[in-house]
Each structure stands twice: as structure tokens, then as C-alpha cells.
């Protein structure tokens, strides 16, 4: 079977070779050392679209996923409703099958959509300027830490111990490779004197709101920048990192209309104050005029970037998550002023309902009763992984097992997608496992 993705026929190939003046296609590969040319390639045999779709549908069917199952898993990735128009619009080939907008005259769609994204991230976060996005929430934190070191000329980053452990891991990987120092602090009272930046996450890994304002004051008193890792849905109701004094605000954009897709693609949100603009990593779209005075959009301040500045660039980032940024912009506009507030409040009320009910179960407790948003920790009467196994058998994806940090603890998440029936089923299932070893 000829490939549907290669229009050249044998006759075409013959004509092309004659035009080139080559006797065979092999001749075109003569620069590859003979001993290493055309090696054996052991891959599964080629299959048709129909056969593969059948096989892949079966493979996908082996995953037990939220939607079919009630889901209480969060920890940085959230099961929120994705309005149909989001995938519909970003699925348009005009957005999906183009490259980075290097030619602005024929890329105004991507450029204007990205400018909208930058604008809406600022509106949401209360920050002054946002970039076109980075890979994900964790690399946004790492890039923010590197940016703080560049701005302050210091080489130590402090983070509070309630930061997402995966984000800590990524931060460590990025900082170690530059020989920078990473220090954990349990409170902001005892910051290292040479800190370039202080990282705080709110809501934190355990779901509780942190005192970002106090952290910002402490960071600033130490001459450091405050890096706040925020949750974009929580900002539907809570005060913004901009208001609370953050110098760099970062977050995971997945909750903004992106499917969970087993870990990606997502988009890292990245915003700061105008004074730090030129130390920002990543792409920026700016509004300008064309030669006839019409508004238009271009990639700008590119002298920060790798293709111009090479080893002196603010980051090596090139291809990022442009389509996801467009999706997030559409989501924010679709939900809008009232919709996002409503989604945030639904999460809040449902999570508190679930926490109250579980706290009342014998054998269970909810240890952190402070201000939480849509996630909370429960102490279980049995190892959480065993409870999760039982829940899965009943069509429930349980919470994240965090017993490596807190004994017998599970981190539960409730969103607007979790129905009262889901919560009641979870509570019943937990009750049956309570008081005795499951």
C-alpha cells in the first residue's frame, strides 16, 4: 500500500531524480558512511488506520478514568468541566497546524489569541505582565526561581514545605544543574539572608490557603522576590497574587479548559511586574501598527530569547504550549466574570460538604481545618493505597496517597464535576471500611 502521506508516485520519483541528475534515491544519501547506511529497523509491522484505531481504542479502554468513575484525585491536575467550544475552537486546523508565528502577516490569529491569553492571565492574577506560557506549572516555578536569581544577583532559593512535592523535584533538578542552592523553610520567619526568591504555593499542596501577603513582606524584608504559585480556579474567588505582593506569579493552566490527558500537554502560567519584564523567560506578543496604521500583533522583546541571544538568553525555551494557552484564553472568556466565580464557589462548597461528612465518620479525621479551597487531607483508619484499591473496585478513583508525608493520610479533591451522589457514595464506601482493616 502506498502511504497516504506521500503523494510521490514511482513515476514522480523518476522524474524528480532526472531533474536532480541522480540515478537513484540511494545516491542522495551517499554522505552517510556506507557501513551505517540503511540499518536494520525492528519495528512492529505497518497497520492501517482502521486496524490501529481498533487496537488503540482497546488500549484506551483498559484505563479506568474520571468521567466513567467518580474522581477524588487532584494534586495539581483537576477534573473540571471543559466547555465544548474549547476543544472545538483549538481543534481548528488554522490554530493547530501552524508553526510559531514568525511571519506576523499570516499569523495574526495565533498572535491575537496569545495577546488575549497574556491579558486574561493578568486580569486573573492581578499581575502587570504575563508571557505566552511555559511548559507546565512546575517548570514555571523553576523558571521563576532562575529569573529571581538573575534579578537579584543572588543564588539561593527558599521554598515553603507545603509546595507541591513534584514542583520541588523539578526545582531541584533545574537549580542543581546551575549550581544554585535550594533551601526548604517551614515558615517565612527564618529566611536565609542571601535568598534571591521565596516560593510559596496557595492553595498549598494540602489544599489550604497560605498567607501570601505575610510571605511577601518577609521576602521583601530579606531583599528577595516573592514567587507565588497559584491555582487559576481558586482565583475565581480568592485575592490575587498581584494584590498580595507577589513579584512573580506562576501556576498550572490545566484547570482552564484543558483535559487531564494523563499529564499533558498543559501550559505554565507566568506573570510578573513590569519592572522585571526584560528578565522574563518565554515568548511575548505585543500590539503594534502595520504600515497602514492598522492594529496588529507581533512576537516582541525577542532579544531576551535563545534564537537571538543564544547562550545569554533568559531561557532556552522555544516551542512551548501555544495551543493550550489559546484554549485557556477561550475558557476564561467563556466562563467569564461570573462563571469562574461560580465554579470556584461550587468547588469550595462541595469540598467543605465532603470534608464535613468524612470528618464525622468513625475512624476518619480531617486534620487541617483551616481555610481550604477544593482539596483537603483526611486521616484514614487503614493505609490509603488499600482504601484506594477498594474504592477503585467500586468505580471510585480515590484521593492521592500522601502517607509518605503524613501517616495514613490521603489528599482528596472535589470539583464542580463531583456530584453530591459521588460524594455520598464515597462517604458510604469509606464508612464501610472504617473502624476495621479493609
Amino acid at each position: 500500500m502506498p502511504s497516504p502521506y506521500i503523494p510521490n508516485t514511482d513515476a514522480d520519483r523518476g522524474a524528480l531524480l532526472r531533474a536532480i541528475g541522480a540515478r537513484s534515491v540511494d545516491e542522495l544519501f551517499a554522505d552517510i558512511p556506507q557501513a551505517h547506511r540503511d540499518p536494520a529497523l525492528r519495528l512492529p509491522p505497518a497497520l492501517s488506520e482502521a486496524e490501529l484505531k481498533r487496537e488503540l481504542a482497546a488500549l484506551a479502554g483498559r484505563n479506568a478514568v474520571p468521567g466513567e468513575h467518580a474522581c477524588f484525585l487532584g494534586a495539581g491536575v483537576y477534573h473540571h468541566y471543559v466547555p465544548a467550544i474549547v476543544p472545538y475552537l483549538v481543534g481548528r486546523a488554522e490554530f493547530a497546524t501552524c508553526y510559531t508565528p514568525y511571519q506576523p502577516e499570516i499569523s495574526q490569529g495565533t498572535l491575537q489569541a496569545t495577546y488575549e491569553f497574556q491579558s486574561l492571565v493578568c486580569q486573573l492574577s492581578g499581575m502587570e505582565v504575563a508571557n505566552a506560557g511555559v511548559y507546565d506549572g512546575s517548570t514555571a516555578v523553576a523558571e521563576a526561581a532562575l529569573m529571581a536569581c538573575r534579578i537579584t544577583g543572588r543564588s539561593t532559593i527558599a521554598y515553603t514545605d507545603t509546595l507541591h512535592p513534584r514542583y520541588m523535584d523539578v526545582l531541584r533538578t533545574y537549580l542543581e544543574s546551575q549550581g544554585l542552592t535550594l533551601v526548604m523553610t517551614s515558615g517565612v520567619a527564618a529566611l536565609p539572608l542571601d535568598a534571591a526568591g521565596v516560593i510559596i504555593q496557595s492553595p498549598n499542596f494540602y489544599g489550604c490557603m497560605e498567607d501570601v501577603s505575610m510571605a511577601a513582606q518577609a521576602a521583601h524584608a530579606a531583599g528577595a522576590l516573592l514567587i507565588a504559585s497559584f491555582d487559576p480556579i481558586a482565583l475565581g474567588m480568592f485575592r490575587t497574587p498581584g494584590e498580595l505582593g507577589a513579584d512573580i506569579a506562576v501556576g498550572e493552566g490545566q484547570p482552564l479548559g484543558l483535559s487531564m490527558s494523563f499529564g499533558g500537554p498543559y501550559v505554565g502560567l507566568f506573570a510578573t511586574r513590569t519592572q522585571y519584564l526584560r528578565q522574563m523567560p518565554g515568548r511575548l506578543v505585543g500590539r503594534t501598527k502595520d504600515s497602514q496604521g492598522r492594529d496588529g500583533f507581533v512576537l516582541t522583546l525577542q532579544t531576551r530569547e535563545q534564537h537571538i541571544r543564544r547562550e545569554r538568553a533568559t531561557s532556552n525555551i522555544c516551542t512551548s504550549e501555544s495551543l493550550m494557552a489559546t484554549a485557556a484564553a477561550i475558557y476564561l472568556a467563556a466562563l467569564g466574570r461570573r462563571g469562574l466565580r461560580r465554579v470556584a464557589e461550587l468547588c469550595y462548597h462541595k469540598a467543605h460538604y465532603a470534608a464535613e461528612r468524612i470528618a464525622a465518620l468513625p475512624g476518619y479525621s480531617v486534620p487541617f481545618r483551616g481555610m481550604f479551597f477544593r482539596e483537603f487531607v483526611i486521616h484514614c483508619p487503614a493505609p490509603p493505597y488499600l482504601i484506594n484499591q477498594r474504592l477503585l473496585e467500586q468505580g471510585i478513583i480515590g484521593g492521592l496517597d500522601v502517607s509518605d508525608r503524613l501517616p495514613f493520610a490521603m489528599l482528596l479533591c472535589v470539583t464542580e464535576m463531583t456530584t453530591r451522589q459521588d460524594i455520598d457514595r464515597l462517604v458510604d464506601a469509606l464508612r464501610k471500611m472504617g473502624g476495621r482493616q479493609p
Binding site: I20, L89, S107, Q123, E243, R287, C318, L400
Partner: protein
């Protein structure tokens, strides 16, 4: 143009009382809200109806040129056709809805796909294994160079503080090396466009951690001395990093592992035809040889067979550099690349490379009389021309690129590689027909004639795009990067 007039920004379209989405009713008792001091006063997001939102983004999309619309010969970007059924598979609920932190036993299908893709990529690249975590090509570079650093450190070799990079390299190479704290030393190319071996020899020493090299190079050339180069670096105690941006040229024709590479990244959004999305999502898996395998990022997907059958699981390699992202890569992109490799198989991948190279050489043959060809030899998947001849007539590479828009084509990459004056880097890919190539050749030849006879029409291009050339200087001098309320 009336049908394509621009619409105001979302915040300017906003009108109180409109919404683009419905939200479920509350089905549990309300809990007391947090104290007002914790809550924001206002949420200044737009209020737009669903119909207007769809109209707006639909209209915006029409201002883009895309692969589905036409020929997109953007050099080094491999803008091939993206098969549509891949998108359908990525949207299957079992893939699209899976949470990355689910218990492994509940996501065996996804893990198996990742494991098989990992191993197929390793086979294609001739390496020991691969890792799918990096989320873009530059992220793969960063990950690979971190591993090079960790490798030398694990041997107590702290002198190796330099990474060598050819003068034709992508900007990401030196930027990635610098992000790992390395000093970057540039190795020049020779008159044939290959690496200057004498200069390489002179640069190699006990301070060199490794060489980053793109093969075929960004000049579209396969360096015939590649094995000599990798051996020289190894003899000096360094490692060889392969930038796989141009892998499309040698799929199935050569394995980078066989040529002495220690670590390679591949851009799934180029070679393996996942849609580029206007600047991502991409995926930049890395493949490694024996020496670097213990340093791979976390997690790696492992397979074992026990009494319950096949089991796939996430593991942490022995001396892992750690995590480079919160989860395990851009899974939605990985699914599409998996579909592609399985549909094509080994013979199909080889055909990809052969037709890509054939098409590029055809353009070279047809255009070399009208445009200067700085390296007069057979090319691989892309041909680099120079507009130096047209520059003498007052027409620059930029003008030619913009004029191509009027002829209905996406411009080639321009002014890269930096070592070619007025560079035009043309990559046709294998998915384009001879009819398309001929139409492009006609346009290029017509523009060459215009440059002689009517240079103004070229210098003022594009004339048929939704907008004309933009004032980029003002954009950078007075940055307007977000919507602001009208004063």
C-alpha cells in the same frame, strides 16, 4: 476584506450580563464563605456570549496560514501534514480523561503505549532506551545536557565545564548548555558546510564535557565525517549530544546511536507529525546509550511480566537527574506520534526520509540558477539558498519571504543559519506533491524576476495578507503586552 475585519479584544467586547457557558447548580448545602479579607473584590474577566466567542476565535483562526491550507516550507521545522485520525485517538476518553496520578493498575493501557513508544524511538535512533518526559525540543536538550553534567560529576570529573557547539547550531543549543552552567565554545564550519575538524581538534581538551551537534546540520547537510567527529570527542573524554530537529532526513536511513551519539532528542512535533499548535504543544523525548541510561529523568516506564501478566510501571533510574516536569511528558502528543510510527512501520519511515530528501534536492536543482547556492552539493531534507544576489538589487531575504505570501505560500525560514548571508532555508517535507513543488518553484522564479525588474513590488510585500508589515521596532520600544482599560 470586509468579511475579515478585525474584532475588538475580548475585554472591549464585554457587556455585563452576558456569558459563554452554563455552570451546574449547587447540590449540597452551602458552607460559610471565607472572610471577606481573603476574597477578591472583583473578577475582571470578559462577559461574552458563546455565539460571539465562537465567532471571534473562528475569525481569528482565519487570519492564520496553516499546513492544512497550503505549502509550509519552513526550514528546520518539518511542517509536514498532520494525519487527522491521530487527533481522534488522542481524544479517546481512556486517554484524554486519564489523571496522571491515578494508581498504575488503573492506567495500564496508557503506560503500555508509553513503554512501546519509548522502545520504538530507541530503536529508530539506535540507542539503548528513550525517555518521554521532555515537553519540547529545547526541553529535551536541557534534559540531555543535565545528564551529561551528571555523568561527569558522577565520575568526579569536575574540570569539564565547556560545551562545544557548531556555528550553524540552533540558538537553543548554546542556551540549553548555558542553563546547565556550561561555558559555550563555538566550533566553525568549513567551506563545504561541514565541521572544521582542525578547529574541533584544537577545541577539545580536558575541559570539554561534550559536543552538541545537529545531524543533518542546519545547513541541510549530512557531515560525512560524523563518525570521526564522535570518535574525536570520545577520545577527549567528552560526550556527543545529537539535536534531532532534522531527523526526518535520516529516518530508517541511519541510526544516530550507530554513529557514536550518546544522547539525542527528537521533536515529535516535527519528525513524527504531531501538530505544532502555533508554538506548541511539542514533545522532545530523549534517547540515550549505555553510559547515560542510569541518569535518565524520572519517571521512566518499565515493563515486567509476572503471574498476573504484563505490568507497566513508572520507575526512577538509578542515578536519575530527577524530574524535569511535574508528570511524565505531553502524553496527548505522545499518542499521536505512536499512531504515526505504528501506521508507517520501518519501510514507511524509510520512505519518509527518502521522499523528503528527494523533494528538497528537486527544489535545489530548480532554484540554484536563480538564487545563490552557498554550498553546491546534494542536500538532505532542506536546501539553504542565499538572497545575496538579490540583495545587490536592493531586495533582501525578508522581502522575498514576504512576497511568497502573495503567491499563497508560507515563507521559508530566513536569516538562519547565521553563517549564511541572507539565508532562505527551505524544507518541503515528503508530504508535498510534485505539483505543489512546481508551483512553489514558479513563484520563487517569478520573485527572482521581480527583484530585477520591479523590486518595489517585492519590497512592499505582502500585498494580499490581512495586514501589511508591522512596526516591530515600536513594539519592542514601547511594549503593549496586554489589554488595558481605555482612559
Amino acid at each position: 476584506m470586509t468579511g475579515l475585519e478585525r474584532r475588538p479584544l475580548l475585554m472591549d467586547q464585554s457587556k455585563p450580563g452576558r456569558t459563554g457557558c452554563t455552570v451546574p447548580a449547587l447540590d449540597v448545602p452551602e458552607s460559610p464563605l471565607p472572610p471577606a479579607a481573603m476574597l477578591r473584590d472583583d473578577l475582571p474577566l470578559p462577559e461574552v456570549s458563546e455565539r460571539d466567542l465562537v465567532g471571534y476565535f473562528h475569525r481569528l483562526s482565519q487570519l492564520n496560514y496553516s499546513v492544512d491550507e497550503g505549502f509550509y516550507p519552513l526550514g528546520s521545522c518539518t511542517m509536514k501534514y498532520n494525519p487527522k485520525w491521530h487527533d481522534e485517538v488522542a481524544r479517546l476518553p481512556g486517554f484524554a480523561q486519564a489523571h496522571p496520578l491515578q494508581p498504575e493498575e488503573s492506567v495500564q493501557g496508557a503506560l503500555r503505549l508509553m513503554y512501546e513508544l519509548q522502545e520504538m524511538l530507541a530503536e529508530i535512533l539506535g540507542m539503548r532506551t528513550a525517555n518521554l518526559c521532555p515537553m519540547a525540543g529545547a526541553h529535551g536538550e536541557l534534559t540531555g545536557i543535565m545528564m551529561v553534567r551528571a555523568y561527569h560529576a558522577s565520575r568526579g570529573d569536575k574540570r569539564r565545564t565547556t560545551i562545544l557547539v557548531p556555528d550553524s547550531a540552533h540558538g537553543t543549543n548554546p542556551a540549553s548548555a548555558a542553563m546547565c552552567g556550561f561555558k559555550v565554545v563555538v566550533v566553525p564550519s568549513n567551506a563545504c558546510g561541514d565541521m572544521d575538524l582542525a578547529a574541533l581538534r584544537a577545541s577539545l581538551g580536558p575541559d570539554v564535557a561534550g559536543l552538541m551537534i545537529t545531524l543533518p546540520s542546519t545547513l541541510g547537510l549530512f557531515d560525512p565525517h560524523i563518525v570521526e567527529i564522535t570518535e574525536m570527542v570520545h577520545r577527549a573524554g567528552g560526550l556527543v549530544y545529537g539535536d534531532g530537529a532534522n531527523l526526518n532526513a535520516i529516518l530508517g536511513k541511519a541510526k544516530l546511536g550507530d554513529l557514536g551519539f550518546d544522547v539525542v532528542h527528537t521533536n515529535l512535533h516535527k519528525t513524527f507529525t504531531t501538530p505544532h499548535g502555533g508554538g506548541g504543544p511539542g514533545a522532545g523525548p530523549i534517547a540515550v546509550g549505555e553510559r547515560l541510561a542510569p541518569f535518565l529523568p524520572t519517571p521512566h516506564v518499565a515493563h515486567r511480566r509476572d503471574e498476573r501478566g504484563d505490568r507497566y510501571e513508572f520507575t526512577r533510574p538509578e542515578k536519575s537527574i530527577g524530574r524535569v516536569g511535574a508528570f511524565h511528558g505531553n502524553f496527548g502528543v505522545l499518542v499521536r506520534a505512536y499512531c504515526y510510527i505504528r501506521q508507517l512501520g520501518a519501510p514507511g519511515l524509510r520512505e519518509v526520509a527518502e521522499n523528503a530528501v528527494l523533494n528538497a534536492n528537486y527544489l535545489l536543482a530548480k532554484l540554484k540558477d536563480a538564487y545563490h547556492l552557498p554550498y553546491d552539493r546534494r542536500c538532505m531534507h532542506e536546501v539553504i539558498l542565499s538572497a545575496s544576489r538579490q540583495k545587490a538589487q536592493g531586495v533582501r531575504a525578508l522581502d522575498i519571504a514576504k512576497r511568497l505570501i502573495d503567491y499563497g505560500f508560507h515563507p521559508p525560514t530566513m536569516y538562519f543559519p547565521l553563517i549564511v548571508d541572507e539565508a532562505l532555508m527551505i524544507e518541503p517535507t515528503e508530504t508535498e506533491s510534485v505539483e505543489t513543488l512546481d508551483a512553489f518553484v514558479d513563484a520563487m522564479l517569478a520573485i527572482a524576476r521581480e527583484a530585477e525588474q520591479d523590486p518595489e513590488v517585492v519590497r512592499g510585500a505582502p500585498h494580499k495578507a490581512p495586514i501589511t508589515r508591522l512596526d516591530e521596532a515600536t513594539a519592542a520600544r514601547k511594549p503593549d503586552l496586554r489589554w488595558q482599560p481605555r482612559r
